[in-house]
Every structure is written in structure tokens, then in C-alpha cells.
């Protein structure tokens, strides 16, 4: 027994020594933190990290070198890292203080990032922009309508918009379907049926299936505490009943020419050649073009029939935004860099390198933008597209609801079941975050 304690003694000794090692390290860090508050030298090198998507690395390198050239009297050390816009939130929220100073993210992450205090309120650091010769109001005026709203929460601007059109449109084979037929689900399905081909859409995703409800005037929203609001189980301000929207959806899904495509499988399905029309985003434009060749065409989403009315589907319409980390050690320069990435010149370059649709009004005037059918179709949705405001509890219930419609678990005749399913959906989505 005594020997056991001896070993414990030795171990404890080691632990203690190690602990003191760590302790002094942490102490140093603290010292550093207090130093930085008094440091006031503008001649020091400004260190910044910048995260962007893998495909954008070359674009960002060019932008950074132009940025450094513009402010040549200041020394910079700007590191560029890879972080996809779609997963930026997850990485940043793991450790906000360790995240990049400037990073790109999709607008649906804005609310969560703001609530976690991860983003710098641009209004507070707006003065920093004076170095670029602009005021914040100038910057806001440069962007197309809706872009600044998409980057704001409660009227406060939290990021710079860099691109728009993260949305979906109808791709179709014009050798089978006329442009007129593509305007409405009924004519679209009839035309597809005649050709023996299918029309595909993803229903088991709250990003796609919400377009029917948004079209009928229903809304989702976010409360200050992060919970989601949803009115789909009632009657919309436009006077449509939620159950009637579901019935219209069921009418579409029960058509033999319709096929529900599981989330994430759209590209594979287009390639299969079974389809003559598919709802998807610009990322599938290439695949659609390859499959349908000269027949390839793109147009805004079709209308669908509720009762006697033809209702336009309103897609979720997203933006890409450039964030300034709230805990950036060089908030001013980070703001300047983020603004620089979102300015006219950078957006025009980004459209050329990665077909990212500009939000800058002048960059949008470029004639090459109108040559791209998918981009034109997306931009035609900008006026009615919905910036989808939902919290984390939205996705699973909405996905299941879409799956129920796709699989025919709900029946168009069973009003009671449909109402019940809508009530369940709303209670799941609007549940408190606990």
C-alpha cells in the first residue's frame, strides 16, 4: 500500500510542475491582452486572418493584394484560410475569439451569429471606413435593394453583402416544355406527362418546401430569444388557408409526372435524363446545360393553383455576407478589408471568377450578367424572394413535413389530418430553445 502512495506522490509532483508550467503560460497571455489596450502604434504590422470558400481562394488572394496596394503606407500580414460559407457559423461558434477577423457566410446564419455576439456591429465601426474615402451611408447606398436588409438585424447592419441569389429556379428542357407551360405547375406537369418525362423538386427540406407557403403569403420569423415564429397552420394575410396550400402541394405530388427528389440528390437526378424540368439553384446550371444541351432554359419558379387562384411560389432568397469578427484585434482594418471585398470592383471580379451574382448596383449593370440564363432567372426572383428567417428548430420539423407530403402520408381529402400535421409542424418549429 505504501508503494502506491509513493507513486501517487510522484504523479502529483509531476502534475503540480506541469500545472505551474501551464499557469505561467496563461499568465503571459493575460499580460499580452492588457498590453494591447495601451498599444497605440499605427506603424505596427496589422495582422488579419480571412476565411473564404475553397473555390474563392485565388479570388481572395487577388483582392488582398489589391487591398494591400491601396493602403501601401500600412504594413499588413493577411492570412487566407479555407472555410465554406455554409459551415462558417459552426466553426466560428466553437471559439469566437479564435475565428478569423473577416469571413464569408450565408445570410441564413446571420441571426445565430448575431445572437452569439460573434459579429461586429458595422454601424459602431463605421468611422473606420473614412480611410477608404467613403462613409457608411455611401456603402449602404451602393447595394441593391434588400441586400443591406439581409445583412441587418433590428435595423443594425452586421455584415457587408458580397453576392446574392442563393435561391432556386426552374430549369427545363425547352424542346419538351414551352416557356408558357413552364409558368404554372398544372401546365408544366401536363406537358411533362405528354413527353413521358418527370418534373423534379426537393420537398424534404425546409429551404425548398417553404416556397409554397411564402408564395401564399405565410411567413416565418425570429424572436429576440432565438425562437421561430410561424403561421402556416392558420390563414395567411393574403387570405389563403394553410390546409389549402398543403392540398395544392399534394395535388402536385400525386401527379404521375411529378417526382420528389431527396435533399442533395438533384444533380444526380438531372444527369439520369428522366427529367424535363427540375427546381434547383445556379450550382446545377452546368449539369442541366449538359443534360439538355440546346434545350436548356431557366426561368423563375412557376405559379401553383390554390382554389381558383394562381399563386406565384416565393423562394427562399439568400445572400452571401462578409463578416467582421466582434473579437477582432484590428476591428478597424478588418472592417476596411470586409468592405473592400464587397465593393464594386471585387464583386465584378467575383462574378467573373465564380459566377457570384453581385449586390452592388454598378456591378449589376455589367452586360455579361444578362447573358447567363440562370442568373437572369434568379435576379427576376429578387423582387419576391424571401430572406428566410428561421431558428435552429425549424429544419427538422419542416423536413419531416415535406417528407410527409412527398411520400403521400397525408391525403388531400383528409382535412383534419392535414390541419393536425400543420399544427404539429408549427408547435415543433416554434418550440422554446429550452
Amino acid at each position: 500500500m505504501k508503494k502506491k502512495f509513493l507513486s501517487m506522490l510522484l504523479c502529483a509532483t509531476m502534475v503540480a510542475t506541469m500545472a505551474t508550467g501551464c499557469g505561467s503560460d496563461a499568465g503571459d497571455n493575460d499580460g499580452g491582452a492588457s498590453d494591447k489596450k495601451t498599444d497605440n502604434a499605427s506603424s505596427e504590422t496589422v495582422k488579419l486572418t480571412l476565411w473564404g470558400a475553397e473555390d474563392d481562394q485565388n479570388f481572395l488572394k487577388d483582392v488582398v493584394s489589391k487591398f494591400e496596394a491601396k493602403y501601401s503606407d500600412q504594413k499588413f500580414d493577411i492570412q487566407i484560410g479555407v472555410e465554406s460559407e455554409s459551415s462558417a457559423k459552426d466553426t466560428v461558434l466553437k471559439d469566437i475569439e479564435a475565428a478569423a477577423d473577416v469571413y464569408s457566410f450565408a445570410s441564413d446564419q446571420l441571426a445565430d451569429l448575431v445572437r452569439a455576439g460573434a459579429l461586429t456591429n458595422i454601424d459602431e465601426v463605421g468611422e473606420a471606413l473614412s480611410k477608404s474615402g467613403k462613409t457608411l451611408d455611401d456603402v449602404k447606398a451602393e447595394h441593391a435593394e434588400g441586400a443591406i436588409d439581409a445583412a441587418s438585424v433590428d435595423g443594425k447592419m452586421y455584415a457587408f453583402p458580397t453576392s446574392q441569389g442563393n435561391s432556386y429556379i426552374l430549369f427545363y428542357d425547352s424542346s419538351v416544355i414551352s416557356e408558357e407551360d413552364a409558368g404554372n405547375w398544372d401546365t408544366l406537369l401536363a406537358a411533362a406527362d405528354k413527353s413521358g418525362k418527370k418534373v423534379g423538386m426537393t420537398l424534404n427540406s425546409g429551404w425548398y418546401n417553404a416556397s409554397f407557403f411564402y408564395g401564399a403569403g405565410f411567413t416565418t420569423g425570429l424572436n429576440a430569444d432565438g425562437t421561430t415564429t410561424m403561421d402556416w397552420n392558420g390563414t395567411s394575410p393574403s387570405g389563403y388557408k394553410g390546409t389549402d396550400v398543403v392540398k395544392s402541394m399534394l395535388q402536385i405530388t400525386s401527379d404521375s409526372a411529378f417526382k420528389a427528389i431527396p435533399d442533395g440528390k438533384i444533380s444526380d437526378n438531372i444527369k439520369s435524363g428522366d427529367y424535363c424540368a427540375v427546381i434547383s439553384g445556379t450550382w446545377d446550371a452546368g449539369v442541366a446545360q449538359e443534360t439538355w444541351g440546346d434545350g436548356y432554359a431557366a426561368i423563375k419558379l412557376p405559379t401553383f393553383t390554390v382554389g381558383d387562384d394562381k399563386v406565384q411560389m416565393h423562394p427562399a432568397y439568400g445572400y452571401k455576407l462578409e463578416a467582421v469578427n466582434a473579437y477582432s484585434k484590428n476591428a478597424g482594418w478588418a472592417t476596411l478589408l470586409a468592405e473592400f471585398i464587397s465593393n464594386e470592383e471585387s464583386q465584378a471580379a467575383h462574378f467573373k471568377s465564380g459566377v457570384q451574382i453581385p449586390t452592388n448596383k454598378k456591378a449589376l449593370e455589367d452586360p455579361s450578367i444578362n447573358e447567363n440564363a440562370a442568373v437572369t432567372a434568379i435576379l427576376s426572383e429578387a423582387e419576391f424572394g424571401v430572406v428566410q428567417e428561421v431558428g435552429g428548430k425549424y429544419w427538422d420539423p419542416a423536413k419531416t413535413f415535406g417528407e410527409m407530403i412527398a411520400k403521400g402520408t397525408l391525403k388531400a381529402k383528409d382535412d383534419k389530418k392535414i390541419q393536425e400535421a400543420l399544427d404539429n409542424l408549427v408547435s415543433g418549429v416554434t418550440a422554446p430553445l429550452s
Binding site: 502506491k4 509531476m14 502534475v15 510542475t17 499557469g23 497605440n40 460573434a118 428548430k393 427538422d396 419531416t400
Partner: protein, 486 residues
């Protein structure tokens, strides 16, 4: 069972006796030690100076200084805030002159929790060192008084590669266990008693202690969501069913396979064995993702089944609701069975390897005498082979079961992005029919930053596993069984 209980009681008793003798030893040392021993309580090196062990005196003094410095310059920044986990929220003002944001001296709840915990561990170790040190010094005093030889520092060092070699060997592993296992587990347990979630995410927000609220929410007050209790029961049920089937199907399958391969009638046994082991060589996630694609709704298996008319047949007898695909991994029931079947394919080779080793070690005299007595192969299997296998691999079976309760890989890789539930009550709790507790836990934390509930569920999973392991071990490895096979 009685033996086992006695054994356990003896173990617990032994532990407390050791603890008691440790404290009484310390008490004796303090009471009967001379002034230098008593002084050692304040200055750890005092006793060694008196006995002329100067190197040890310097080491202990340095160690004491290190602990004191650690306490003043590190621990004191965090431990005093441990009770509240911080009160000062981050605030900042942008200074256009410096182009920097100026922060107040804000509290970071997570750092306070982590470093306080670390300080506690260090202090606990320091107290043990202090007590042990006093006892050592007292021992030196006794040796000095009775005129025994007192080791020089060099002689002490030599003992660490001689009679105390085990200490040299064990120091690093024990240290590793403390830093990499004990501290994180304690942290996890502590988080379960806080409100650390999306609403309270450091550094911008603070979190604080909430007592047993999370556990009450989990089992009582409605749960995380309106349907949490409903989902918890279903997920737990499937977890246990899965663990049971996954463990026993692969276990039995492995034994049967290895018996087949061991049979003298099997040709090229080594070739077969190699073929089965090759499935282990392919990383599990690769094979699982491939299998997932094979059995997808538009996968190759579905295409074949449709071609040969199997889909139509299953539709006719009412097992499949549509006549163009079999929902292998996308409908409840089908998915449950498929997951277990796929797991057999993945798990059997491992069990086969283990079983082969054990089978080769069955005392051949037992088998031969059974044959002489006229036992049939089946009887031999039931009466000799299986009991022997169960005895040798019993503990492994229990660990397998616990591993399967937490078998994240198979479930997650086979169902993520493929399986969509149509059960709204489950969906409202972010669960699906095929979720295990651990995959559900992963989703709850990864997608929703709900660390407090994840910790609470983690503790529950731990308790389930611990209870099961204790019962199973007690039941399977009864003391009297050992004699049977000796």
C-alpha cells in the same frame, strides 16, 4: 454471486482501510514528529534539511513555491469567480484613432469553469503531496533516531530503476489519465449543471449554475421540446434493441464462421480467413458509405430488385408501399433490419478472429473424450464449445454491448442525409426512428449548440452503460466458474 459480493465488499473495505491508514499515518507524523516535521507542513523542505537531504529539500521547496505562484498568479484569476461563473459581460468601444475595439475586462464563463477545475485538481494533488511529504519526513526522523542509514539523493534515484521501477513506469500513464480523461469528464459533469447553450455562449454571454434543472427538464417538466419524453423513450428503446442484436448476431456469426473455417473439411481455410479479414482492412466509413449508396432509394440494389421483379412482389404482398423502390434505408422497420444486417457484415470478421483464437485453445482432451463417449458434433458445440467460448469471451461480450450502445459510426454513416422521419413528434425533438442516444446527442449539440442537455444526456448514457456493465460482469464472471475450466 455471494463470492462476488464478498469480493466487492472486500475491495470497498480495503479502499477505506487504506484511506484510513493514510490519514492516521499523517496524524501520527504530525503528532509525534519533531519540530522539523511540524515545520514541514509550512515549508516542505524543512525536514529534509534537518536530515541533510539538501537536494530533496530544494526540490520540495521549489515545488511548494510553484504551487504558491500558481495559486496567486493563475488560480486566483478564476477560482473566486467559480461560484457565479463570471458576472462581467463583454463590452467594447471602437476607437477610430487606433482602429481597434477596446474591451472591458470581461469574464469568460467557460474559461472560469475549466481553469477553476484545473486549479482544484492541482490543489488536491498539492495536499496529497503535503501529507505524504510530512509522513516521509517523519519516517526519516524515525530512521535517524534508530541510527539507520539515510539514503543520499543519488541512492534514492537508483531505487527508481530498481525496486521502485513500477513508479517510474506508471507516472506518465497516470498523468495522462488525469489530464486527458479525468479533467474532461469532470468538466462534462459540471456543464450538465449549468445553462451553457446557444443563449449563453461565451465570450459574449455568460452562463451560470442552474443545479438539477437540466435533469428535471430531461425527465419531468416537458423536456427539451414538447415531445422530448416521447422521443427519449423511443430512442432509448431502439438503442437497447440495436445493441442487443448487433452484439449477439455478430458474436454468434463470428463463432459459426470460425468453426466452419476451422473444420478439417474446409478447403483453403487461410484463403477464406484472409478474404474475411480484408473487410477489416477497408476503413469502416468507406465501406459504410458505399453500402449506403448501394441501398439508397435510387441505388444499384433497388435497380436490380426492380429488374428481377422483387420490388413488385414485395409490393403485392404488402411489404412495400410503392411499386418502384424498396425503402431499404429510408423507412422505419426496413431501415432497422438493414442496419443490423449490414452491421453483421461489418462486425463478423472481428468476432471470427477472436473466436478462432479461443477455439484453438479448447483443451483437446475434453473434445476427444466427448467424442469417445459418442457425443454428436452439435452436442459438443452446445455442451463444450459454447460454454467455453462464453466463459473466455464473456467480458469482451459485455464491452461489445456497451460499445454498440455508443456505436456512432454505423448508425450515423448509414442514415445521415438518407433517412427522413415522417413522425412529427420525433422530428419536433430532432430525433428519428433510427437514432441511437449517441447520434441524437451529437445532433442536439452539433446542430443546436445545446451543451448543457448534451452533458445531461451524456451522464445518463454513462449511468446506463455503467449499471449494465456492473450487472453483466457480476453475472458472467462468477468466481466459482473459473474452477470448471482449470
Amino acid at each position: 454471486m455471494e463470492n462476488q459480493t464478498k469480493g466487492a465488499a472486500a475491495m470497498v473495505g480495503g479502499f477505506f482501510r487504506a484511506l484510513g491508514s493514510f490519514f492516521s499515518g499523517f496524524g501520527t507524523a504530525v503528532a509525534k514528529g519533531d519540530i522539523f516535521v511540524k515545520l514541514s507542513l509550512l515549508w516542505w523542505g524543512a525536514g529534509y534539511v534537518r536530515r541533510k537531504q539538501y537536494v530533496k529539500a530544494v526540490i520540495m521547496t521549489a515545488l511548494e513555491a510553484a504551487v504558491i505562484l500558481f495559486t496567486i498568479f493563475f488560480a486566483m484569476d478564476y477560482v473566486p469567480k467559480f461560484g457565479s461563473l463570471g458576472t462581467v459581460r463583454a463590452e467594447k468601444v471602437f476607437n477610430p484613432q487606433t482602429m481597434k475595439s477596446e474591451f472591458n475586462d470581461y469574464d469568460h464563463s467557460f474559461m472560469i469553469l475549466l481553469f477553476s477545475l484545473f486549479s482544484f485538481v492541482v490543489w488536491f494533488a498539492a495536499i496529497i503531496v503535503l501529507m505524504k511529504n510530512t509522513m516521509n519526513v517523519y519516517k526519516l526522523q524515525l530512521m535517524d533516531e534508530s541510527g539507520e542509514h539515510i539514503n543520499t539523493f543519488k541512492e534514492d534515484l537508483v531505487t527508481y530503476i530498481g525496486e521502485k521501477f513500477h513508479i517510474t513506469l506508471l507516472t506518465l500513464p497516470v498523468l495522462g489519465v488525469v489530464v486527458f480523461t479525468l479533467v474532461p469528464i469532470l468538466l462534462l459533469i459540471f456543464v450538465a449543471f449549468t445553462n451553457y447553450d446557444q443563449q449563453h455562449m461565451p465570450p459574449s454571454e455568460l452562463f451560470t449554475w442552474v443545479g438539477f434543472t437540466n435533469f428535471i427538464t430531461l425527465f419531468g417538466g416537458g423536456g427539451l421540446t414538447a415531445t422530448f419524453g416521447y422521443s427519449f423513450v423511443r430512442v432509448l428503446g431502439w438503442t437497447l434493441v440495436w445493441a442487443l442484436f448487433a452484439t449477439f448476431t455478430t458474436y454468434i456469426g463470428g463463432i459459426l464462421l470460425s468453426i466452419m473455417l476451422n473444420s478439417p473439411k474446409t478447403r483453403l481455410p487461410k484463403c477464406w480467413r484472409t478474404l474475411f479479414v480484408v473487410t477489416i482492412a477497408v476503413p469502416q466509413f468507406v465501406s459504410l458509405l458505399l453500402v449506403r449508396n448501394f441501398f439508397a432509394d435510387s441505388g444499384i440494389v433497388n435497380t436490380i430488385c426492380k429488374e428481377i421483379g422483387l420490388t413488385g412482389f414485395l409490393h403485392d404482398i404488402g411489404l412495400v408501399s410503392t411499386n418502384n423502390l424498396i425503402p431499404f434505408l429510408s423507412a422505419p422497420g426496413w431501415a432497422h433490419v438493414m442496419i443490423i444486417l449490414i452491421n453483421i457484415w461489418i462486425g463478423v470478421p472481428y468476432q471470427m478472429l477472436i473466436a478462432t483464437g479461443v477455439l484453438m485453445n479448447i483443451p483437446s482432451d475434453q473434445l476427444e473424450s466427448a467424442k469417445v463417449d459418442g457425443a454428436k458434433p452439435f452436442q459438443i458445440f452446445v455442451k463444450i464449445t459454447m460454454p467455453y467460448m462464453l466463459f473466455v469471451t464473456g467480458p469482451a461480450l459485455v464491452t461489445d454491448f456497451v460499445k454498440n450502445i455508443n456505436n456512432f459510426n454505423v448508425i450515423y454513416l448509414l442514415t445521415q442525409d438518407v433517412y427522413t422521419t415522417t413522425n412529427q413528434a420525433l422530428a419536433n425533438s430532432q430525433a428519428t426512428e433510427v437514432d441511437l442516444l449517441v447520434t441524437w446527442l451529437f445532433r442536439l449539440t452539433q446542430d443546436y449548440y445545446n451543451y448543457k442537455m448534451a452533458s445531461a444526456i451524456g451522464i445518463i448514457v454513462f449511468i446506463i452503460c455503467a449499471v449494465f456493465t456492473l450487472i453483466a460482469f457480476n453475472f458472467m464472471i462468477k468466481g466459482d466458474k473459473e474452477g470448471t475450466y482449470q
